[in-house]
């Protein structure tokens, strides 16, 4: 490793797909040739101007990028401290940041001649984004979704079906995101010839964590430019929620080598991060292990069996976290905290009331931490929170949690 790389937080992963000791390629032999091929094709596309030109065109005309960086005045006033900006990725086509990455992977799949796309989904946002882009390009799309999530995210299930995707409910385990990912891997190992696995977060075997990060980094790149235009300088702190961690990595990565920028990831604390393990906070309540192709912090028992975790948000309900986050945690570059279901619900309501933005439950976690942090900071402190998804999909869950009959 060169001196320059040692001085950067942005040079990973290494040639083995490792971020420090995290990441790697822990997959069965059947999949190894496929992910090596994917890595080679991605490395080529990454340096191909025509690939990025196609991405930029679609980001602008199909997704609606750049998303605004919005000064949330009433929220700032209410919390009485830091000047709060929201990165409005909930305004993207399909209502979340997920499509940033899906476009990249589908363009790559097309270049590789793959005709069938599979995906896992938790809250359904990644599934909807994948179904959307597959519809646009006329590709067959199969989405694996835990049966529990199918039940609690009905609007997104119907959206995927309208878009022509086949939604496969997965009943194994507790029937949530982890189990959907297992099933997608089983499908991929069976249909190796024509199928491309479009992973929705910065997890999975190398090259997925790096590739998904590179596609999501558009979020942070735009924030740099937009903040320069708005305030003439870098932001002072960044806050984003973390399940697998793709929206957070997208926002954080372009700022990792700016030491003046404080970076905070917010995990789902469920009913509280304690020995009951009724949460989904892998970093604050887990330890390193190997699952879904990479080494990372995991919720697990003493025997190394994976625990299911809990969160009110189906998108954060995952027992692992992207390996690069695990590394940034151990390096101390990014702070990771957790907030509870209850705190996230309070933040959900605050966003609706003060800004007229119905947030998804995922970024409501980020906002819940902003509610604690912002009042402790001076008025000239520039805080950016990633509003990574809109909350239409969550209104039923929220109504139930608030005891409201719909």
């Amino acid at each position: 490793m060169s001196t320059q790389q040692l001085n950067s937080f942005r040079s990973g992963p290494d040639e083995r797909g490792r971020f420090g000791n995290f990441g790697g390629r822990f997959v069965s032999e059947t999949l190894m040739p496929l992910i090596l091929d994917l890595e080679a094709r991605y490395e080529h596309a990454k340096t191909d101007d025509s690939f990025w030109a196609e991405m930029d065109h679609l980001w602008t005309h199909y997704v609606g990028r750049p998303s605004p960086l919005y000064h949330a005045e009433r929220l700032t006033e209410r919390l009485g401290g830091a000047k709060i900006y929201l990165k409005r990725d909930e305004l993207n086509h399909t209502g979340a940041h997920k499509i940033n990455n899906v476009l990249g992977q589908i363009l790559l799949a097309r270049r590789m001649g793959k005709t069938r796309i599979i995906a896992e989904t938790g809250a359904g946002q990644h599934g909807v984004a994948t179904a959307t882009v597959c519809a646009k390009f006329g590709l067959k799309c199969v989405v694996f979704m835990g049966a529990t999530d199918v039940e609690r995210q009905k609007p997104n299930v119907f959206r995927m079906k309208l878009l022509g995707a086949e939604v496969v409910p997965v009943t194994a385990g507790r029937a949530t995101l982890k189990d959907a990912m297992n099933e997608a891997l089983r499908d991929w190992v069976t249909n190796v010839e024509d199928t491309f696995y479009c992973i929705g977060t910065v997890a999975g075997p190398h090259p997925y964590p790096a590739m998904v990060r590179d596609f999501q980094a558009i979020i942070g790149k735009e924030v740099r430019t937009q903040m320069e235009e708005a305030e003439g300088r870098l932001p002072d702190s960044l806050v984003a929620c973390i399940g697998g961690g793709s929206n957070a990595m997208g926002l954080f990565h372009p700022f990792l080598d700016d030491p003046s920028v404080r970076i905070i990831g917010v995990e789902a604390g469920g009913h509280g991060v304690d020995e009951r393990m009724e949460h989904a906070a892998s970093l604050t309540g887990g330890r390193p292990g190997v699952l879904h192709g990479n080494r990372t912090y995991l919720l697990q028992d003493d025997d190394g069996q994976i625990l299911e975790g809990h969160s009110i948000s189906a998108g954060l309900d995952y027992p692992g976290i992207g390996p690069e986050h695990s590394w940034l945690h151990d390096m101390g570059r990014v702070e990771y905290v957790s907030v509870t279901d209850r705190e996230a619900l309070d933040a959900f309501k605050l966003s609706c009331e003060t800004e007229g933005i119905i947030p998804a439950l995922e970024p409501s976690h980020a906002l819940a931490h902003v509610m604690k942090l912002a009042p402790t900071l001076p008025g000239d402190h520039l805080l950016v929170m990633n509003m990574c998804g809109r909350g239409d999909k969550d209104i039923f869950t929220v109504a139930e949690a608030l005891g409201v009959e719909m």
Binding site: R16, G24, R25, F26, V27, S28, E29, T30, L31, M32, P33, L34, A172, G173, K178, N182, L185, R186, V189, T190, N191, V192, G289, V290, L291, H292, G293, R295, L298, Q300, D302, D303, G304, Q305, I306
Partner: protein, 263 residues
């Protein structure tokens, strides 16, 4: 000579194909599982593949997933799995045992601790599905230093360019996965598998056994016929799942073994 090498040498001398049987440790509970495992050698099993239960068996089909769930539900752990092997070894010191599973329970225990315990308990080899050659320094190389065989899966996607990498650091035998897919799925096809096994045998002196998709004595005979042995897992596990007694399960195993031995 390791138990695995000794067993394959004996089979070669006798002009017989190997029958490898997979059962999940602790399925449906520790005592029943031990009774089945103890009966396998007398039922004609040459090598025992003992499944290590894991919550997320990504390369396995429903039969093995459910078996792992039953075992975990009944309190099975990696430590109890090692206990089961120790109990088996009190009566049988020659039948090789290969532990098959996923890396995380081993990583969680600590690789060096695990290797010392496994060797001491009487385990002869490891098949760890999510450790490809690219991750050899995790467990494969330490296992070799500890005197345990590391048995690798070769698959239909392992082309000639990749095969040397898969064979390097492999020991014991090579497990050829007859299909692209998960355990217990599509039926294996001897006519297609034969040339693949020949391709692997041209590149290694290790015995090659074929598994995935073998469900009957006839299939065991056909697949063993084009290789050095046949592996059956899901079909045996399903007998247990159907509530068959250990004696009934062992009768089923005996028929499979006779099939493989005719191959």
């Amino acid at each position: 000579m390791s138990r695995i090498a000794a067993r394959f040498a004996k089979l070669k001398q006798d002009g017989r194909k190997a029958f490898v049987a997979y059962v999940m440790a602790g399925d449906p509970d520790y005592d029943t599982s031990l009774e089945v495992v103890r009966g396998l050698p007398a039922a004609g099993v040459d090598v025992i593949e003992l499944g290590l239960p894991f919550t997320d068996p990504m390369a396995d089909g429903p039969a093995i997933q459910l078996a792992a769930g039953r075992a975990l539900e009944a309190g099975m752990t990696l430590r109890r799995t090692l206990d089961l092997v120790r109990a088996f070894r009190q009566q049988d010191d020659s039948t090789p045992i290969v532990l098959m599973g996923y890396y995380n329970p081993i990583y969680s225990m600590g690789v060096e601790t695990f290797l010392a315990e496994a060797k001491g308990a009487g385990i002869d080899g490891l098949i760890i599905v999510d450790l490809p050659p690219e991750e050899d320094d995790e467990l494969c190389l330490p296992a070799a230093r500890a005197g345990l065989n590391f048995i690798r899966l070769a698959t239909p996607t392992t082309d000639d360019r990749r095969l040397p990498r898969v064979l390097q650091n492999s020991s014991g035998f090579v497990y050829y996965v007859s299909i692209t897919g998960i355990t217990g799925a599509a039926a294996a096809n001897a006519a297609r598998v034969g040339p693949e096994v020949a391709r692997i045998k041209a590149a290694t002196d290790l015995p090659v056994c074929v598994g995935f998709g073998i469900r009957s004595p006839e299939a065991a005979q056909q697949l063993a016929g084009v290789a050095d042995g046949a592996v059956v897992g899901s079909a045996i596990v399903q007998e247990l799942a159907a509530g068959k007694s250990p004696a009934q399960v062992l009768d089923f195993v005996r028929a499979l073994a006779e099939g493989a031995h005719r191959g």
